[in-house]
């Protein structure tokens, strides 16, 4: 009994209930603009996307994208468009690699691509710019990565097997000749698509050299 009186007294000492900030009608009124805003948000995003797509389409039609499309085609046919006399059985693999390189370059992100373009622009005083140079730059970077691995290997195994060493020497000489040729082409201001084609061949040769050297190392360690 004493407890209940105590509670009642405590309850009486509590402050009076504050009035609510607004009633249900006010809440509904305030909720309407928010709902409208929520409904418009996806529409705004969709409109922005549409605008971006349109902008890319316009750019592709009238701007730099034209070069991109043309050069992608050049990559796909290995520069045969640029130079109709080039064409051979082995080209397809080169092109596949080149296309893969190009795709890799695109997926690398813009920073990477810009760097490649900058490298391409720096390295070749050529007549046309754009993705071909970018592709060339990417191929050069990939090639450099393989070369750095090659540099970790000894110049030759302790026991040199002439057959494999001849394969290595053949590839090394070929790469040196391609490098020499590329210097001459750059000096003469050659078209960048030709340089890109040669850069792809160089990348393939360097890749093959790495594979042959790997086999040489493995074979040289056999008992």
């Amino acid at each position: 009994m004493h407890d209940s009186i105590d509670y009642i007294q405590r309850l009486r000492t509590l402050p009076t209930e504050t009035t609510p900030p607004y009633n249900w009608q006010e809440f509904q009124r305030r909720a309407v603009p928010a709902r409208v805003a929520t409904e418009w948000r996806p529409l705004a995003v969709a409109a922005a996307l549409l605008f971006v797509v349109c902008a890319i389409a316009v750019w592709g039609r009238f701007g730099g994208g034209r070069h991109l499309v043309a050069d992608s085609a050049a990559v796909e046919d290995g520069g045969r468009n640029a130079d109709p006399t080039i064409g051979h059985n082995g080209q397809s693999a080169s092109l596949a690699e080149g296309t893969a390189t190009w795709s890799a370059g695109v997926t690398d992100g813009s920073g990477d691509r810009n760097a490649a373009q900058a490298e391409g622009g720096r390295s070749s005083g050529t007549t046309s710019a754009g993705p071909t140079q970018s592709e060339s730059g990417i191929a050069a970077r990939r090639s450099r990565a393989i070369e750095s691995w090659l540099a970790t290997l000894p110049q030759e195994p302790a026991v040199v097997r002439v057959g494999t060493r001849a394969a290595v020497a053949g590839l090394e000489d070929r790469i040196a000749q391609v490098d020499d040729l590329m210097t001459s082409m750059r000096i003469d201001g050659t078209r960048s698509d030709r340089l890109a084609a040669l850069q792809r061949e160089r990348l393939r040769l360097v890749g093959s050299l790495a594979q042959v050297r790997y086999a040489e190392v493995v074979a040289s360690r056999s008992p």
């Binding site: 059985n89 057959g163 001849a166 000489d173 391609v178 490098d179 040729l181 000096i187 056999s222």
Partner: protein
């Protein structure tokens, strides 16, 4: 007392009988264990031998595949590279350093943009970013420094030594390179020549196949099996010479023997197994070669002939061009007709 003595005697007697028996039993068990271990060891050895053989076979296949990779890659690069060469090549062959030069190099020299892996420059220690300031004592400076280097290389014969001065991080360094055979000085632009009276047409010169150097004779032919070791001073003392390349496994029909030390090939002294391969690669099948060797500590001159491509004597895969012009591999045992 007597009882105690009897018991003690009995115990000693029992122990005397049991001890040899237990020793015999233990000995039998040990023998059985040893026999079991020996059997397991034999089985392990047999398995190991089989695995070793399989590993050796796999490595041989890997090496064979590497040869194919090299051959096919070279062939695939031919159309594009040879086409470019035909456009830019203009003159007799010239030696190459194995670098790409930056055509926008400054006036201090020609900047090395790329170094060909395994090339002459790489072998000598030239790095990307080095600036070539002189070639064989001739300064490279002023305008068009890259072109100056290319021109200087026209005067260099393949396989000759080239002194290259470079600037690296502000410091001058000199390298001595052994120039490699090149493809012709194609950076010359000759002004148009006035028309001359027509001359009879010259039949086109057949292109030299890319596999002429380091071709099938070396990569997949009889010389491919030859094994060489660069001579160290210790090995040299044993063989009675301080320089040369030791033949570990001599090829058949080449008049070299296991244990020969190659001192010179037609006057050219090989410095390593790779160098010997490159020297031998400059010969054509059927060409005569004079090789000076140290054989059993005596100098011997061997006159031999580079063999034609022949069967390797073991099953192998060969790259062949079919009637349809497509290249495919023949799995062929030497002398057999069962191509697949």
């Amino acid at each position: 007392m007597n009882t105690k003595l009897t018991r003690l005697t009995l115990a000693v007697a029992v122990a005397g009988v049991l001890a040899p028996m237990s020793v015999l039993a233990a000995s039998d068990a040990a023998e059985r264990a040893v026999a079991e271990i020996n059997a397991q060891q034999k089985e392990f050895d047999a398995q190991q031998k089989e695995l070793d053989a399989k590993l050796a076979e796999a490595r041989a296949r890997l090496e064979e595949a590497a040869h194919e990779v090299a051959e096919i890659s070279s062939r695939m690069s031919e159309p594009v590279v040879d086409h470019m060469m035909s456009i830019y090549e203009d003159g007799p062959p010239r030696a190459v350093l194995g670098v790409q030069l930056d055509e926008r190099s400054g006036k201090d020299g020609a900047r090395v943009q790329e170094v060909s892996p395994g090339g002459a420059a790489a072998e000598a220690g030239v790095h990307v970013g080095d600036v070539i300031t002189s070639i064989n004592g001739v300064d490279v400076k002023g305008d068009r420094t890259a072109r100056q280097v290319m021109r200087a290389m026209r005067k260099v014969a393949p396989d000759s030594k080239v002194k290259v001065q470079v600037l690296r991080e502000g410091k001058s360094q000199e390298f001595v390179l052994t120039a490699r055979p090149g493809i012709g000085h194609y950076d010359v632009r000759i002004p148009p020549i006035p028309p001359i009276p027509p001359i009879p047409p010259i039949p086109p010169i057949p292109p030299i196949p890319a596999e002429a150097a380091y071709g099938p004779v070396f990569i997949r032919g009889p010389l491919g099996e030859m094994e060489l070791v660069s001579l160290t001073p210790q090995l040299g003392r044993y063989f009675g010479t301080d320089k040369g390349v030791l033949v570990v496994r001599a090829p058949k029909d080449f008049k070299l023997e296991d244990g020969d030390v190659i001192l010179a090939i037609d006057g050219r002294a090989p410095t390593s197994g790779s160098h010997a391969t490159r020297i031998l690669g400059s010969y054509q099948p059927g060409e005569k070669i004079a090789i000076r060797v140290m054989r059993q500590q005596k100098m011997v001159n061997v006159d031999t002939t580079l063999p034609e491509r022949g069967p390797r004597g073991r099953p192998g895969r060969e790259l062949r061009e079919g009637p349809d012009g497509n290249v495919r591999f023949d799995h062929r045992v030497a002398g057999a007709d069962s191509a697949t």
